[in-house]
Amino acid sequence: MDRALVAMNRFGLGSRPGDEVGGDPAGWLLDNLKGFSTRQALADKFSSVSALSGIKEQNEALRTAKSAAARSWIRHDIVSKVRAFYQECALLRINHSIESEASFAEHLVHFWSNHFAVSIDKIEMIALAGPYEFEAIRPNIGGKFADLLMAVTQHPGMLLYLDQVRSSGPSSPLAAAARSKPKVRRIPGMNENLAREILELHTLGVNGGYGQPDVIALAKALTGWTVTGYAIEKYDPATIPGRFVFRTDMHEGAAQILLGTRYPASGRAQAERMLRDLSLRPETAEFVCSKLARHFVSDVPDRSLVAAMVAAWRRGDGNLPTVYRAMLEHGAAWSSERTKFRTPWEWLVAALRGLGLPADRALLNMLVELGQPVWRPMSPAGFPDVAAHWATPGALQRRVEAAQQIANRTPKNGFDVKDLSVNVEHWGLSDASYKAIRHAESDSQAISLLLVSPEILYR
């Protein structure tokens, strides 16, 4: 691969016909961040508030419904509404990726969205996953890591996904009040899930030197971080659900010690200070830079590449463009060998970009067959990022079948694969791939072969 192809495929989302990189590929990539539209169109339509609107009312209707038939209908209605919303968000994501001229920036959004992963396993998450990415991730990929972490942790999507919304401190006013009542069924209590995953998955990493007391300390500081309409509260039709809110009555309100540092009680600011300090720790720099290098460059990233990125992180206090620049200025980033096996998402986007095809529902649903439904990793650790997971015999066979489907849908007169004098350079095809494609019995078969050639499967 020459440097232009590396820029477009390893760091971008795949070459499109007519793409030009110019003489400074690294600069071209970094420029993506400048021209990048952080708010995708239709901001209000796909906001968290609009995602959740209606669900609370319907949940209340469910609770007060008089018959099993009515309940069943209401449930069906909620589910079909959120699914339709999810589909629209996912289609927006993929079509934006296909059309984008700033594809390195889009690629970064996908990376961070997977690093701070949520999954559409709960009904509210089906609706919120799209708005979460559009609102918390997209606007923050070009600033400081601390700001990205804060936006994620204060977003209704993350708070709902990791069971934070009803977490109350053991000595919080709410818990104390419940204990003082004579006949109470359940005292509001604490949930440590979000705190644990912040330390283990988002910042320090599992070997980052924290212990159970640190998880508890962060969990206590985070009590009170909740979402309107989902906190511990009586149903009120006037409440607009889906906004971050800090509830003092649910908050633990005592000093906490996290990783040896004392954080005095200070309401919402207590956890905010903890998150900022976590962002600056060397373990966080090491963990996150390794993930970046592993995602973009190699399953086993060059140690000196990671070191350069970590140094840049520390120099810039976690300023992300400084880290991206360090990655793009290191020789290892530009190796001409394709070592990263594209995930199903990356592969589908690259295929559609290269063919100039828009996505529709059917193409989007192929991601389910390929094992990577949009925003559904089924774990806060996100989708795995190594070939051992994605490059297996059965999965390869699925790609071939999917390639066949894509080929069947490519307009007959719109794309001439046989005219490969331009395309060989465009795709960087090897002799073997070129030969196979040239000798295909039809355009459709040629496209299938192209899409499963090593040059498209790997980047």
């Binding site: 009803r166 005292i187 440590e192 192929m366 094992g371 089924m378 059965g394 390869l396 196979a436 072969l449």
Partner: protein, 387 residues
């Protein structure tokens, strides 16, 4: 390229000339029985709540610790009494009937060597069989395949190959798909295109080999039942694969546990039913092992659920199992008896159960099996698990 079915005959011919130390001292008849035996792993991701599935109802602390998580809220049925100590969550209907016919065995207060409660690391230890995370990079089940597989590949019915089956021995993933098959012509041209690409050539060859072995039902999405049904289809018949696995997620019940666990258990129950149905007469040669990375906290948390714990539950199901009992060295649930004052204390090493079950089931030497599955570990395989 030698197709797998040719290789199988070749290896079959070789087997009869191999020296006896490769296999346990068994007669030709039981070596044939080895050929008929099947094993399926169901890996539950998320750390399932053993205490909520096989419930120690006679333990004096239990009702206090689990107030607010009563299973009666989720189902209208009462738990099924298993023995003087334990009752079974009523969502496991087929499981209960298997228990009564001696085809289900529960092992409680069991754990891997891992103690730190991270899903990621816990699953790595669970599947790799290492003493701690990332020491081993392949799966323990893959490492024991040469002793039990006689050359047939193992199959994970999943979109990708989980760690448990990754390694040097041949294993692949297969999952139901709504995509039409690739034409033979296309497949042939792809083989040619990959001739000089070492990575893709080997993946593609295995894919074609596995496809030639069976033609599983390709309709519809992959529900848990369908995955189990496919696994059974892969294993059924004299030429079936001996080793399959499926995975199932959603067990990380930090909140709303009563209802969520019931839903999960109904799915697991349906999976067990599908396997029994799919194996037919071979059910008596079948062993299903259900494992998870760790258990959950003894006490319910503040949000109607439980958090990550340590000691947990594993199940052995199948006609090959000496079931109808709960095997547990019960540590008790008083505060001083809990692990780190929060979790069920593990009293049995999961690895001992796994080595014991697999070596007994396939008539192989437990020492050899143990060395392959858990290299470097000091093991005491549990016996008397298999008929």
């Amino acid at each position: 390229m030698v197709r797998l079915y040719d290789r199988r005959l070749f290896i079959g011919g070789m087997l009869s000339t191999m020296p006896d130390f490769c296999f346990s001292k068994s007669s030709a008849a039981s070596r044939q029985a080895t050929g008929a035996r099947r094993i399926m792993f169901i890996v539950l991701r998320g750390g399932w709540d053993g205490l909520g599935v096989v419930m120690p109802v006679a333990d004096p602390e239990y009702s206090r610790l689990r107030a607010g998580l009563s299973v009666r809220e989720a189902t209208s049925e009462a738990p099924v009494q298993l023995d003087s100590m334990f009752a079974l969550n009523p969502a496991l209907i087929a499981g209960g009937s298997m228990y009564r016919s001696g085809e289900l065995l529960a092992v409680h207060a069991v754990a891997t060597p891992y103690r730190a409660r991270s899903h990621f690391d816990g699953q790595q230890v669970l599947e790799s069989g290492g003493a701690s995370p990332y020491v081993l990079k392949d799966g323990f089940l893959n490492r024991v395949l040469p002793l039990i597989g006689d050359g047939r590949p193992a199959v994970a019915v999943a979109p990708n190959l989980p760690l448990l089956l990754r390694g040097n021995a041949t294993a692949t993933s297969r999952a139901p798909s709504t995509l039409p098959r690739a034409s033979d012509d296309l497949k042939a041209r792809i083989s040619q295109m990959y001739e000089h690409d070492a990575r893709l050539h080997s993946l593609w060859s295995t894919a074609l080999d596995v496809e030639s072995m069976t033609d599983p039902d390709r309709a519809g999405r992959a529900s848990p039942q369908q995955l189990a049904k496919m696994a059974a289809a892969f294993m059924a018949g004299p030429a079936g694969v001996p080793v399959t696995m499926v995975e199932h997620s959603g067990w990380d019940t930090h909140s709303q546990q009563t209802s969520r666990l019931a839903v999960q258990l109904r799915q697991l129950d349906a999976m067990l039913s599908e396997v029994r149905l799919g194996m037919g007469n071979q059910w008596k040669e079948t062993l299903v092992i259900v494992i998870s990375e760790f258990g959950r906290t003894a006490m319910a948390n503040g949000t109607g659920g439980t958090d990550h714990g340590t000691g947990g539950l594993m199940l052995l199901a199948g006609g090959a199992v000496k079931g109808g009992r709960v095997v547990a060295d019960w540590p008790g649930l008083r505060s001083g008896q809990l692990f780190e004052e929060r979790d069920l204390r593990p009293t049995t090493d999961m690895r001992n159960v796994l080595v014991g079950a697999i070596s007994e089931h396939f008539h192989i030497d437990p020492v050899q099996a143990g060395q392959a599955m858990f290299p470097g570990a000091r093991l005491q395989p549990v016996g008397q698990l298999i008929r």
